[in-house]
Point group: C2
Chain length 313, copies 2
């Protein structure tokens, strides 16, 4: 069985045909061109989806989108990356233009499900996925089901407050995890502190450059690294106490900093978790890397099919 996974991003749309063993059989990437508006974007996605599925028959289309998604109706309620997309019927439109069933899911939820089907969380029933990218996203799998909350917008793990009265967040709160542990947050911290560390080797203040410098012992890098891992430790500690998960998977661009970041997060999380939870969870890095978005989107189709089967049994 094959599914088409579509990773809808603010600048690029990546799609791939994924089989149940996790092979990507065919792939295509196009520009999103959000400035052309919803209809043009939908038209372009559907056209590419039709082309790519001509020679490889797929059962269903899965779309992972940033923002607040009405999963049941396939509607994007709003998304910071797509100005003007308010309650747009993404799923129904793509479905009518391709003739296929379409599932739409928040990209962080899709990430967690992708890791369960094809990644490091395979075989686990209680999974937390945390994506550290431009923002911080969260996906929750409880007892083998995606947890979305009563109106479908739960799981906003990036907007847990870890520094009360901290930085203003895009969401209007102060001190959310996202203000510190996102790529944007890491970059900002380094820029703000740079005058205090004239000897720093950091030239270009991307999150990757800052964390790489920390790894090599750069004092500014280490200063930022400590604050970022502390914030993650407080938040993940809370998630452990709340969800009692088996596995926490960290993905997104910032996760490319690898074992150095993971070690720091593990240490700080441990410091923030009470003894009765020690040994109940593990923290790992996503191994799906650049294709996590395609895998996540495709996995939503496999998940949907499985749930359909369970319900009609």
């Amino acid at each position: 069985m094959k599914m088409l996974g579509i990773d809808l991003g603010g600048t690029k749309v990546a799609m791939g045909i994924v089989d149940e063993n996790g092979n990507i059989l065919k792939r295509q990437t196009i520009d999103t061109k959000t400035e052309e508006g919803f209809n043009a974007v939908v038209e372009r996605i559907a056209k590419t989806a039709n082309e790519i599925t001509k020679s490889e028959k797929v059962e269903m289309i899965g779309i992972g989108s940033p923002g607040s998604i009405d999963h049941k109706k396939g509607i994007v309620r709003f998304s910071p990356n797509f100005p003007g997309w308010i309650d747009v019927p993404l799923g129904p439109e793509i479905s009518s233009k391709t003739g296929m069933k379409v599932v739409v899911e928040n990209d962080a939820n899709a990430f967690a499900v992708g890791e369960k089907w094809f990644g490091v969380a395979k075989g686990y029933t209680n999974v937390l996925g945390i994506t550290l990218g431009t923002g911080v996203g969260g996906g929750i799998i409880c007892d083998d089901h995606v947890f979305r909350g009563s109106t479908g917008i739960g799981g906003e793990l990036g907007h847990v407050i870890v520094e009360p009265n901290g930085y203003l967040c895009g969401c209007g709160n102060h001190g959310c995890l996202e203000t510190i542990a996102s790529a944007t947050g890491i970059s900002r911290l380094a820029k703000e502190w740079k005058e205090r560390y004239p000897d720093t080797s950091i030239k270009e203040f991307s999150a990757k450059a800052v964390l790489d410098a920390a790894k090599k012992g750069d004092p500014l890098g280490i200063k930022v690294f400590e604050r970022v891992t502390e914030a993650l430790g407080i938040a993940i500690g809370a998630f452990v106490h709340i969800f009692n998960p088996q596995i926490i998977v960290i993905g997104g661009g910032v996760s490319r900093s690898g074992k150095f970041l993971l070690d720091g997060v593990e240490k700080k999380t441990h410091e923030n978790v009470m003894k009765s939870f020690w040994g109940t969870y593990k923290i790992v890095l996503s191994n799906l890397v650049d294709d996590a978005g395609i895998y996540g989107a495709a996995s939503m189709c496999f998940e949907e099919l499985r749930n359909d089967k369970a319900n009609t049994r």
Copy 2:
């Protein structure tokens, strides 16, 4: 149909026969006498349970106990209120001594379920229960089911960190919600700040006295009240972002401070919740008051029976 609800506390054991309409038909309270050890406590509970159920036939016994509970096996893993109770088979023992099926549940989980069956959360499927007592407990109902996590010890809402590097908590962390918003925490804050407020009218530093004074405009009371509601606002804000609940029920002794406390918590929570969640939740005070423990324990039986029926359908 009638159930026996047993509210197991550190000093008292309250039990009551509850019917499905929420009437308490018969009740009895005995001393726990933990110092006599597990076997003696179990013996005394079973004896009273047998006496009270002689004239009123009940289907099942529910026990709400503080601490970490293995719900499936009916085992108390450990409980701060019962020193020495490590992995004790509370459920099986009471069952063998009464000849009845027994369900054991963490008291905060039982509280949330009790509110769903008999209290202010009736008819809701996504409920958060928060108990503000000696400690701070949490019970989570997701999509009409109690959420316990992968090893059954999730839902520790009182141990979310709201003041990083704050007070040392009994759990070993610093700055947990429990350090501020429990009766113990409120009392401590008032005592620590009293020298700064020589004009305070507070004489006796119980949580109730402190919050009552705040209500009357006492400056020390208000100072404490602000910090407590701020902590609750940060934590409940996080829970809203994570769980997207329909209703949050606040219970426990501190909740007796009533509407004044509720108004403060509502205000501070609103300040910590992003716009897309506005209007998706409400915060209410428990209306089961002193019998919340009995109702909670009994409701676990009704819940168990309902799930059994659903599974055998």
